[in-house]
Each structure stands twice: as structure tokens, then as C-alpha cells.
């Protein structure tokens, strides 16, 4: 069974933090079309605070996600603070007290994160939110896992489903969040939350694949 060590969480956390920092402007720009244009600013603020804290207090993967979750929930606010706060909190709990991660273990983390986000959000599939990435990504990962595909292959399926989910938000009309106030006028651009969610899942997948 293929697995990776998660006793040092930096192999996922650091690429994740860098990806958000590198995409700060991109995320704010797409948010600016139909939202208030601060998505990249807020995400960058949270992930950068996490970077500083993890440099001072490094630890395993669960610790890294817990640190990130705590910062997002206590300092970031907006909608993305609680949504990603819950997302990473669930991942932290699902990876707690584990030395290694295999395909089934990552599946548990992903499903836990999906369930937690759904428990707090009013959004439904098709509402043009990050759920339109998270739901198909989790579903594809789980289908591949159930078909006994390799860890690598499960991650690939998750990544491509995430990307398709992100791109599909372009033709959707926003039903929740600030952009929903635009109604039909929200059509034609991808949702910023779906873009960051796709980025996060893909960077995680790549980091794990690079380590396998």
C-alpha cells in the first residue's frame, strides 16, 4: 500500500501557503468581477499568518491544518474564514495521531472536510460556490478509491474533477453570497471561492504525488 509520512506537515502546508501567496492578485481580480474583490487579500493574510506561526512551531500535518484552521476562524472572517476554517479543521481531525497517509486516509480527510463545509454553508450544488468544486472532487476521489485505483490515480481524478467544477461555475448564476445579489449578471465569470478551492486541492494532490 502506497503511503506518505505526515510527521512533518510542511510538505503540504508550505506549497499550499506559497500557492495562495502567488495567486493573491488572481483571486482578488476574479472576485472583483462579481464580488468585492478581497478574496485574494483575505486568503493571503490568513495563509501568511499561518506561515509565520508554523515557522515558529512546526509539526505534523494535523498540527499544520489545525494551525491554519485556527487562524482562518479567529482572524479572517468574511465567508471564507469559516468555510476554509471548517475545511482544514476537519482535515486536521481526520489526520490526527497518524504517522502516514494512504489513499483511504486522504479519502477520509476529504470526505470529512466536505461534510463539515456542508454543515455550515447554506449553499447547494449549482449555486456557484466552492461546493461546486469540493463535491465533484470528493465524489471522483471516492469513486476511484472504490475502484481500487492507485493513490496517484485517485489524486489525479480529484484534481481534474476540481478543475471541471471550477470551470463549470462560469455558466452558473450565483445563489448565495454577495455575488448572488447580481442574479443573471453573475453569469460569465468563474466563482472566486471555487478557484481557490480548486487551487488548494490541486496543490495538495501535487504535494502528495511528489512525495510518494
Amino acid at each position: 500500500m502506497t503511503c506518505v509520512s505526515i510527521q512533518d506537515g510542511s510538505f503540504i502546508l508550505m506549497p499550499l501557503i506559497r500557492a495562495i501567496q502567488d495567486n493573491k492578485q488572481y483571486l482578488s481580480d476574479i472576485d472583483g468581477f462579481i464580488g468585492d474583490g478581497d478574496h485574494g487579500i483575505n486568503m493571503n493574510k490568513g495563509f501568511t499568518l499561518c506561515e509565520e506561526q508554523l515557522k515558529a512551531e512546526p509539526g505534523d500535518l494535523s498540527h499544520g491544518f489545525k494551525t491554519l484552521s485556527h487562524i482562518l476562524m479567529s482572524q479572517i472572517g468574511g465567508s471564507m474564514g469559516p468555510l476554509y476554517g471548517m475545511f482544514f479543521s476537519a482535515m486536521a481531525k481526520a489526520s490526527k495521531n497518524k504517522d502516514t497517509l494512504d489513499a483511504a486516509g486522504f479519502g477520509q480527510m476529504l470526505t470529512a472536510a466536505k461534510d463539515k463545509v456542508q454543515s455550515i454553508s447554506e449553499a447547494q450544488p449549482g449555486d456557484k460556490t466552492l461546493l461546486d468544486v469540493l463535491l465533484p472532487a470528493e465524489e471522483s476521489y471516492r469513486a476511484a478509491l472504490n475502484a481500487n485505483e492507485s493513490f496517484d490515480s485517485c489524486l489525479d481524478r480529484m484534481s481534474s474533477a476540481a478543475e471541471q467544477g471550477r470551470d463549470a461555475t462560469k455558466d452558473m448564476v450565483a445563489k448565495v453570497g454577495r455575488s448572488s445579489r447580481l442574479g443573471e449578471r453573475s453569469r460569465g465569470v468563474i466563482d472566486a471561492g471555487s478557484a481557490s478551492c480548486c487551487l488548494i486541492l490541486q496543490v495538495m494532490a501535487k504535494a502528495i504525488k511528489d512525495t510518494i
Binding site: 482578488s28 472583483g32 468585492d36 474583490g37 478581497d38 487579500i41 483575505n42 482562518l72 476562524m73 479567529s74 482572524q75 479572517i76 472572517g77 468574511g78 465567508s79 474564514g81 469559516p82 468555510l83 476554517g85 455550515i120 454553508s121 447554506e122 448565495v176 453570497g177 454577495r178 448572488s180 445579489r181 447580481l182 449578471r185
Partner: protein, 334 residues
């Protein structure tokens, strides 16, 4: 960007520092730098009143912290909900053991953060109940009231909830009265120019010269339509035509009318609009029991106005008449 600021990323923190120095008789710090409380909070045997929201709406939200009004406030970044931790810290600052009424506006971020904060408070045995303001008529149709956002009607909800708590109401009584206040309230706005979030540096929406956006939100959310700029009398007619049938308001009703500027519209224009609104209401036999005209709930330097009307019964009148003292609203007996 023409602004009186230092570091654009620190505008909220520096505003809070200035506010504390300017109003030492009204507000005090808590352990959370983004949570301020009324100097005397928590008040023994009184239900605590908490609100919170994004910054950039002065006097809302911190400007309504004071005597017989809000006991503690959570202040987020510009136009962005405070995190759950901040709402939770505000609950702790306001609670005297009689419970906390969290009275806030209907926005996705605030809903999630308040929900999480309530879960955190349960662990401390602080009882928190909520009223979610949804007075903005153009933001959703009447059959989807729970999708409407909260705007300037929130001030009347705090006024009523704050008074009911000061009169000695239980948590359930305060919640019921505040809910009645917002259920009886309808608002809408007209935007004339955009506003700029300092950290962004440029407006992220436009309103062309010679036009106005009817039904605009407190963060520049698009409204019902963009049309050529009208006179104050035409705006008053347009707004009352949308607001009055929605509740509905009718002849013989006693109402509160609240006209608020959105930031850069001068007082002169607010009184011109109020004059036009009063004419329409008196023609329809609607009695203005208490008017409020001023800058009560703004959107940075946006130009434009909002009109809010609340239908009164005897208990709401008693709450509206009740004394209060805060930066945004001072009332010393009827």
C-alpha cells in the same frame, strides 16, 4: 484614491484606536482589540445586546454601542464579516448571565460566523439568541424574505432591542420585540457614486455621472435598475412606491421614518428628501411618529440615500421613545 489614511491595510485598527480616544465615556476595550463594549457592560440583570459586521458603515456598527443600546460589538475588516472568535468575544463582554441577543444583518459571512460563535458560547453556558435583519426590499422578492439583506433598519432593531433589554425584558422578550421591529421595517437605497475600499485603491463598481442605481446595497451590490438621475421628489416617490406596498403601510399607521446618507451626500440633500417623503406620507394619511434624518448607516464615501420606514404599535413606540446615548443616536426623552 483621495483618503485621509496611513497604511491602507490598517484603516480599521487605526479607526478603532481613534474611536476609543474620542469616546472614553461610551466605549471600553476588551481583550479582543476588535471588540469594544459599552463602558458599563455587562450590566447586572440585563440581557446583553451584541451586534457586529464589516467596517466601513460608520456610525454602524460601533457607533451604536452605548447606554440602552448595544453592549458589545465585533468589528470586521472593511465590508467583511468579523470572524466567529470576535462575535464570541463580544458575547462574553456583553453577558451578565441573563443571556445575549445578537442582532445583526442577513449576510452569508455573518450568518456563518455568528452560528459558529453561538456553538462556542454554548460551551461556556452563555445563552445566545439571534434576530437577523432583512429590511432591504429590493434585495429579494417578498416570497423570499429570508434572502433579503439587512440595511439601515438594523438601527431601529438595535434601538428597540436595546430599550427592551434596559426595561428589564427577558432574553425571549428582547428577541421577540427586536424581531417585531425588523419585521415591521422596510428599507431601500439609491446610489449616486461608488466607494473605494482602501486596500483595493479603486472602486470595484461604477455609477456613471447623470445616472443612479435604484435599490443599491450597502456594499455597492447591484440594485433593481440603473436609470437617469431624478429629482429628490421623484426619488421619494420611487422609494415609497416600492416600500409602502411591501409591508404594506396604510392610512392611519404611525411610523418611524429614517433617512440616512450613504456617506458623502450632504445633510442638506437628506432634508430635501425627507421633506418630499413627508409630503407623500401625509397625503396617504401615514403619521410620522418619529423622524430620524442623518448619516446613520453609510458605505464609505458612497453618495446616495436610504429610506427606512417602520410601522409602530404601542410597545414599539415605548421602545422608540426610550432614552439612549451612543455616538450614532442620542435621545433624551420624547
Amino acid at each position: 484614491m483621495q483618503k485621509v489614511i496611513n497604511d491602507p491595510s490598517k484603516v480599521v485598527d487605526e479607526m478603532v484606536e481613534g474611536y476609543i480616544k474620542a469616546h472614553p465615556n461610551l466605549v471600553a476595550r476588551t481583550q479582543n482589540p476588535r471588540v469594544l463594549k459599552y463602558v458599563n457592560a455587562p450590566i447586572a440583570n440585563k440581557v446583553g445586546i451584541v451586534t457586529g459586521g464589516g467596517s466601513g458603515h460608520k456610525p454602524a456598527f460601533v457607533g451604536y454601542v452605548g447606554r440602552n443600546m448595544v453592549d458589545a460589538v465585533a468589528m470586521g475588516e472593511i465590508f467583511s464579516s468579523p470572524p466567529a472568535q470576535m462575535f464570541y468575544d463580544a458575547f462574553k463582554a456583553a453577558d451578565s448571565g441573563k443571556g445575549v441577543a445578537c442582532l445583526y444583518g442577513n449576510y452569508a459571512g455573518d450568518n456563518m460566523n455568528v452560528k459558529m460563535a453561538i456553538e462556542m458560547a454554548l460551551d461556556d453556558d452563555i445563552e445566545v439568541k439571534t434576530v437577523v435583519a432583512n429590511d432591504d426590499v429590493p434585495s429579494a422578492p417578498k416570497d423570499a424574505l429570508n434572502k433579503r439583506r439587512g440595511v439601515a433598519g438594523e438601527i431601529l432593531m438595535w434601538k428597540v432591542g436595546g430599550a427592551k433589554a434596559a426595561m428589564g425584558g427577558t432574553l425571549d422578550e428582547v428577541i421577540a420585540e427586536a424581531q417585531k421591529a425588523i419585521s415591521n421595517t422596510r428599507s431601500m437605497g439609491i446610489g449616486l457614486s461608488p466607494c473605494t475600499i482602501p486596500e483595493k485603491g479603486s472602486p470595484n463598481f461604477t455609477i456613471k455621472a447623470g445616472t443612479m442605481e435604484v435599490g443599491i446595497g450597502h456594499h455597492g451590490e447591484s440594485g433593481l435598475e440603473v436609470c437617469p438621475l431624478e429629482t429628490s421628489a421623484q426619488m421619494a416617490k420611487r422609494m415609497t412606491d416600492i416600500i409602502l406596498p411591501d409591508l404594506p403601510f396604510g392610512a392611519g399607521d404611525d411610523v418611524v421614518v429614517l433617512v440616512s446618507g450613504l456617506g458623502s451626500t450632504p445633510y442638506m440633500e437628506l432634508y430635501i428628501l425627507f421633506n418630499d417623503v413627508e409630503k407623500i406620507l401625509s397625503q396617504r394619511g401615514i403619521n410620522i411618529y418619529h423622524p430620524y434624518v442623518g448619516h446613520y448607516f453609510t458605505s464609505l464615501e458612497m453618495a446616495g440615500v436610504t429610506l427606512t420606514i417602520m410601522k409602530l404599535d404601542d410597545s414599539l413606540k415605548a421602545c422608540i421613545d426610550y432614552e439612549c446615548d451612543c455616538m450614532g443616536l442620542q435621545q433624551f426623552g420624547r
